[in-house]
């Protein structure tokens, strides 16, 4: 733990600061902001899936809940501070309840995936149908497929007219991502984090040691949802509108693809995968030669077949082979994580 504070934290902050400073020179901050937000979203799934072994097909549900909570709260309150907090809390509480239902029911693997998928669908279908004027929370109309526009965006706490947008907003998001990253890193090094990884490996064994696996999974699940909710709130501020698409199956699929491509089981992987693929989509969207969806599909298939561990571990291996000392590489890898550890499913 000592080396974490002495070496890893300063190194991370340094690298992050460098990136934060350099990236805007290559990509506009408006685009960069959403890449950072997607990075945070991918990171949330990377935490619960890569480290916790919880396959969630509906991470988008928490993303959407965070965004919608922010929008609705902002319209009703007028200042952005409390809505930001609520946007983190509401998805976390929802996830805690959902998680408790699933984990205490001993649901595993595929069945977990199905239920999380279904929950996302329920939310999507429901919100999508709330276009009528009778669907209101306080002063905010849910708006159905039109979404909710025109809410108070991020302001300096207490000064509703002092907005944070544009470049400052980019730095705000980037710093938040850094903070989240450091917090999670600390969590993973703590006893809770190490036991969570143990649960991913073999939950029967961890239970036989006397740990309450169900409670721990629920907590981790809620933590991931909180991060996704935060990303949702940041997205709401960036896009200045929230729509049911945030809950969509497509969005959930994208998050999963980011993790696979980036590298499950690493912290940086999902962030890189998310930002990279989102940027690729942005670039592809500019051209009309080959269909977007077709390319995304091919990329996913190729990665599953040939680079199942994802980009980051592959690059890390390459680095080690080229420059590093020869030492045994861990064999567990992303494949085992994805297809279930012992005692799971």
């Amino acid at each position: 733990m000592a080396s974490f504070w002495a070496k890893e934290v300063p190194a991370t902050i340094l690298v992050a600061a460098l990136l934060m400073w350099v990236m805007p020179m290559m990509i506009g901050t408006y685009t960069l902001t959403v890449l950072v937000i997607y990075g945070m979203l991918g990171f949330s799934l990377g935490l619960i899936w890569g480290f916790g072994g919880i396959l969630c097909f509906g991470q988008a549900a928490f993303f959407g809940l965070g965004a919608y909570t922010y929008a609705i709260a902002a319209i009703n309150i007028g200042d952005s501070t409390i809505p930001m907090l609520l946007a983190v809390l509401v998805p976390a509480v929802f996830a805690a309840l959902l998680g408790a239902m699933m984990f205490y029911g001993r649901l595993t693997d595929v069945y977990l995936g199905v239920i999380t998928l279904v929950v996302t669908l329920i939310l999507f279908k429901f919100i999508n149908s709330t276009a009528g004027p009778e669907y209101v929370i306080g002063k905010a109309r849910l708006g159905g497929f039109n979404g909710i526009p025109g809410f108070q965006t991020l302001n300096v706490p207490g000064q509703p007219n002092d907005y944070i947008y544009g470049d400052p907003y980019y730095y705000f998001c980037a710093i938040l991502l850094l903070i989240v990253y450091l917090l999670v890193s600390w969590l993973l090094k703590s006893s809770f984090g190490r036991v969570a990884v143990g649960i991913r490996e073999n939950e029967v064994r961890v239970a036989l040691m006397g740990y309450d696996v169900r409670a721990r999974k629920t907590v981790l699940f809620a933590a991931g949802a909180a991060i996704a909710g935060l990303a949702g709130a940041l997205f709401a501020n960036w896009g200045e509108i929230v729509t049911p698409n945030l809950f969509s199956l497509g969005q959930s699929a994208e998050i999963i693809i980011w993790c696979i491509v980036g590298g499950l089981g690493t912290r940086i992987g999902p962030i890189v995968g998310a930002a990279g693929l989102a940027y690729l989509k942005f670039l592809l969207g500019q051209q009309s030669m080959i269909d977007n969806t077709l390319l995304t599909g091919i990329i996913l298939v190729l990665f599953v077949l040939f680079l199942p561990k994802g980009l980051v571990p592959a690059i890390a291996s390459l680095w080690r082979i080229s420059f590093g000392r020869r030492r045994k590489l861990p064999r567990h890898g992303a494949r085992r994580i994805r297809n279930g550890g012992v005692g799971n499913g």
Partner: protein, 238 residues
Amino acid sequence: MAEVVLETVGLTMRFGGVVASDNVDFKLRAGELRCLIGPNGAGKSTFFKCVTGLLTPTGGQVFMRGHETTGWNPHQVAALGVGIKTQVPNLMDGLDVFENIWMAARRFLPMQDAMRKTTEVIERLALGPIARTELGRLAHGERQRVELGLVVAGDPWLVLLDEPAAGMSADDVERMSDIIREMTRTAAVVIVEHDMQFIRSIANTVTVFHQGAVLMEDHVDRVMADLTVRNVYLGKKA
């Protein structure tokens, strides 16, 4: 007489029409070492699973140190201070030996003590050379040893081992016998086993299972000599 640390009263486990455990009454006292033997399908492992919470019995009761634990979850049983080793080694394959044992120690000890305890256990079980090796890469015998280490690391007062000698070399088995004998100084131990030599070397009282029920419970020599037991089980030279 030492206190009764584990007791079952009329423990029954039915799977549909099959009665895997048939009205089993069982008593274990502090510091005792008991071996459960019997042919395949006799109900030893089912009994084991009912006691550890891996199965919920369909009838009867389980008591640990006087408290009823019938139908408890495995983690609740383990949290009482019971060490459990399953028939097929249940280990965290992607993590190394140190991490596996640390997790067991950490359950009952604060961080620093847990680290110390882990190093202690690793030394005691001669796991030093492989301490940083991933479990998935180890041979079966080594894995069994690590699992034993897991059990020991929790400082249990009751130890339940399902086939600890399976797949182990003679040296390993001897080392394990030493450790188990040491364990009985602080814990009561129940071992489900097939390896007759191993049982002879450590056992005192032996409980024989047959068709889900207890056939006989007596000193190991008397059990081995008994004709009924021989007919039921010891068809070959032990």
